[in-house]
């Protein structure tokens, strides 16, 4: 698969002009952006403070950072699940909270961290619910709905599971089904909140490969814009076109992983001493933590 070739050669964007490509002030560079975004659950301790963020179109943006840095909170605000205390999220230049939620759902899809399916629902039934923003009460199942669901299930390789209950699937299959539901929504922008949580490493890779494919244009569909939160810095470096490293509710660094993932950044953001070497498979930066103390052999 071409997925693991360098993510740098995506069409639709000259690469390598560094972080200044998304300066954060002025008009948004892409369809989705945040300006002065302040988020938090109580007023005097904002989780995210005056954040400016530009999401590049047609690319995979990965947000990373230590626990409680505000990465998931930011993603939720980008998907209008959280109302900003100050500042705004811009979708196509319009303030997100002024748009009807159904309109938003036609261009912006979102998969939460732990989605819950009704008991006994089948795969095809769940995926078909992604069509909600395109349906009306007199238009419950158009040929377009059927085509979108078929394509979404094909793309996530769950067509063979169509009539199985979601309850009975493995974690990896279930996650693919949820992604299929989000794909059936046919949005140009897709937000995924930690899509690899609770999955073993093989299924993590499977999901991330799928994410890369989504941002790769095909004959029928243009490249989607994907924003995702990941825990694993190495996976982020491997799969991101645009990496956003957050710390304490602010952006510590952003840009192409090749340019920003350094030992200094890992030290600054995660407080971890590490060496950064080229990934032997993809050449993307690979973070290797310093030796444990004591080494396993010395432990006893």
């Amino acid at each position: 698969m071409s997925i693991l070739s360098k993510p740098g050669n995506e069409p639709g964007g000259e690469q390598g002009n560094g972080p200044e490509r998304f300066s954060g002030d002025g008009p948004p560079a892409g369809r989705l952006a945040a300006r002065g975004l302040t988020l938090g659950y109580d007023a005097d301790r904002p989780v995210v403070d005056a954040l400016d963020l530009d999401i590049p179109d047609g690319e995979v943006t990965v947000i990373v950072g230590p626990n409680a840095c505000g990465k998931s909170t930011t993603l939720r605000a980008l998907g209008r699940l959280l109302k900003p205390r100050a500042g705004t999220v811009l979708l196509d230049g319009a303030e997100l909270h002024t748009l009807p939620t159904r309109r938003i759902a036609q261009s912006l899809g979102l998969l939460p961290q732990t989605p819950v399916a009704p008991e006994a629902i089948t795969v095809a039934d769940l995926v078909s619910r992604g069509r909600q923003p395109h349906q009306r009460w007199w238009q419950q199942w158009s040929p377009a709905d059927e085509a979108a669901v078929a394509e979404a299930m094909e793309r996530t390789d769950v067509s063979g599971l169509a009539d199985r209950p979601v309850d009975a699937l493995s974690g990896g299959q279930r996650q693919r089904v949820w992604i299929a539901m989000a794909l059936a929504q046919q949005t140009d922008l897709l937000l995924l909140d930690e899509p690899t949580t609770y999955l073993d490493i093989a299924h993590q890779v499977e999901v991330l490969n799928l994410v890369r494919q989504l941002a790769t244009p095909t004959d029928e569909t243009p490249a989607r814009t994907v924003v995702t939160v990941l825990h694993d810095l190495n996976q982020a470096a491997r799969y991101a076109d645009h990496l956003v490293a957050m710390k304490d509710g602010r952006i510590a660094a952003q840009g192409h992983p090749d340019e920003i993932v350094t030992a200094e950044l890992v030290g600054e953001v995660f407080g971890l001493a590490a060496v950064v070497i080229p990934d032997p498979v993809t050449g993307s930066p690979l973070v290797v933590p310093e030796a444990p103390t004591p080494l396993p052999g010395e432990a006893r």
């Binding site: 899809g109 009704p118 039934d125 199942w141």
Partner: protein
Amino acid sequence: MTTTLARPPRTARTSAARPTGYRAVRLGGASVLVHGRTLLVVAVLLLALAAGCVANLSLGESSVPPLEAVRSVLGLTDEHDFVIGVLRLPRLTVALLVGAALAVAGGLIQTVARNPLASPDIIGVSQGAAAVAVIAMTYGLASTAVLPYWAIAGGLGAAVLVYLFAWRGGLHAGRFVLVGIGFAVALRSVTQLFLTKGDHTVAQQATVWMTGSFNGRGYAEAEPLAWALLAVVPAVCWAARAQRTVTLDDDTAIALGVRLNVTRVGLAGVGVLLAALATGTAGPVDFVALLSPQIARRLTGTAQIPLLTTALVGALLTVLADLLARTLFSPTELPAGVVTAAIGAPYLLWLILKNRTGGRA
């Protein structure tokens, strides 16, 4: 659910890219999804309900042959005008309507709460209706004609209070149920207080009303309920579609463009209204609202509660309960609520035990 057991080999059929078990019916640009098995279940339930109604009309202290009963309803004979036309048919009509209304109310509230344990008789609607009705009786404000209205006001009032206390920037499903249970307990003690305060005859009259009985109920009570049911039909159609998304988690539903709070308040509002009307008409007939949606969902095998099927199950349960209540210890008559409680209580226990052992119901 054991849906995996009886599955044909996967190669045996190609699955369409549409919800399992549904067919799309298209006409011009319009299209609806129809669930095949639900149609079958509805047909069978209609037959069962017809049989139940005939049984209810023909059995009793003076029994009328089933065929004669049907002829009497159709106006082909006037021989049984008193037993059928005056005593049994009006009462049957009320039982049908009350059962259907309570069942749909339960289905809507369970959908909003995402919890099979939720129903109007658990979250305080029935208790509110009972409390206000008993207070009105104690103060001599409630003749039989106006009692339903006091009860309706009480049910709605209780629901509004539950909303207000459960609302915290939105209607959270779990909090809604917990606050409701709290109010149910509090309102029940209010009822008890007024029962002990009031004089003997009032207390006796109130106690009978509170167990839910169709004794002496007729067209006068059926009419307002029938109109109300007719009026909420569009709302129930809307609800059937809204169910497809509100049964997902909050974040996913919002991501799909659903105005979650509006939808929830709407669904619960229709449910509460139906429950209050039904309770006002016949008193709290326990467990119909709790049981019917779950029975219906198991019959159709759908992921959401099928509302039409639920209404039919509710009507059938209530008609049968009323029949048993009238005939079991004849000539002594039990309130129908006692019969539904006798069926419902073990089910409730089973649900709770099942939840405790980890299964989701």
